[in-house]
Symmetry: C2
Subunit: 184 residues, 2 copies
């Protein structure tokens, strides 16, 4: 109840932000937040803004420089991180989407001969996904480019701050996982 009231009050004081709306500066998820907005909500919206800014740049560069999409690159990069291949359910977990969402993507990459399905070495009834030689070659060009784009975007953060941000995002991730476990 306290929270509800807080939010309603915060909303009605939003007019001081109004002048920003018409400026030329770029807007994002944080625009128009009032000063007394909850810290946690601010963290969430700032996190989302940063993730979207990086993602937008990576998508654009993948399109412009490699004529490919982010979901295709993500599948290849994830498959690459398991040299012995991985089953679909593991791939979809890593990509944080459902099996159904990546099946058409995987089918297409198989057609394009960038990945292949092979029986698992441990259990031949399970299909593992792994890179083809062509997929490896494609990634050998894309991965260093991807690293350099991300470096470029984060380069203006000094290295102490970068290490600290990484550690704090680790704390955040642990906090979310604890909350999820308590919920389920």
């Amino acid at each position: 109840m306290g929270l509800a009231r807080h939010m309603v009050n915060a909303r009605s004081t939003g007019t001081s932000e109004q002048s920003k709306d018409d400026s030329q500066s770029s807007s994002d998820y944080e625009t128009g937040l009032s000063d007394d907005e909850q810290l946690d909500v601010r963290i969430w919206l700032r996190l989302l803004t940063c993730a979207n800014l990086i993602e937008r740049r990576v998508r654009k560069n993948l399109r412009d420089k490699f004529d490919t999409t982010l979901p295709r690159f993500d599948v290849l990069a994830q498959v690459d991180r398991s040299p012995n291949g991985q089953p679909m359910r593991e791939l979809s977990r890593r990509m944080m989407v459902t099996n159904g969402n990546i099946t058409p993507l995987v089918d297409r990459l198989v057609e394009d001969k960038l990945i292949k399905r092979d029986p698992s070495p441990e259990d031949r009834r399970v299909q593992h996904i792994r890179l083809t030689a062509g997929g490896k070659r494609a990634l050998d060009e894309m991965i260093p480019a991807h690293v350099s784009w991300v470096n470029n975007l984060i380069a203006n953060l000094d290295r102490d701050n970068a290490s600290q941000l990484y550690a704090l995002l680790g704390e955040l991730k642990a906090s979310i996982q604890t909350a999820e476990r308590d919920e389920d």
Copy 2:
């Protein structure tokens, strides 16, 4: 060139991570990263993992508790942050998507009488989007719930760490924006 080599080496040492692949623990974008992976790439994947974890929970709760979707909620919450309304181009900037992507969403919310299009007070030729009374009532229920979900996920982060994370995400955002300006 140094980066390319680094990445190729990092990839070939991935086997030590393999045992994790078959465990029951939940996987995400960080799974299978080798220890010598670039800090910036680690930051990016951890950021993406946190954003996806929070987003997944918020989507689920919006569906279960309000029978609505995240994009619909996002539009309403953004419109709400400009009490005097805002033009479509500002709304799409804030939501970090193109105009074309939110037009069908906005049309649908207008049909559902949650938002309306009115002439701007400054320029009657420009349509501003604002909440209807019904949209305000819907948000009055959803916003405090959204705040409490986010609080719940971030609650296990102590308040000093939370403040510091918020500040460092601000540095990250500034770094990305500087890089983008240099690029364009």
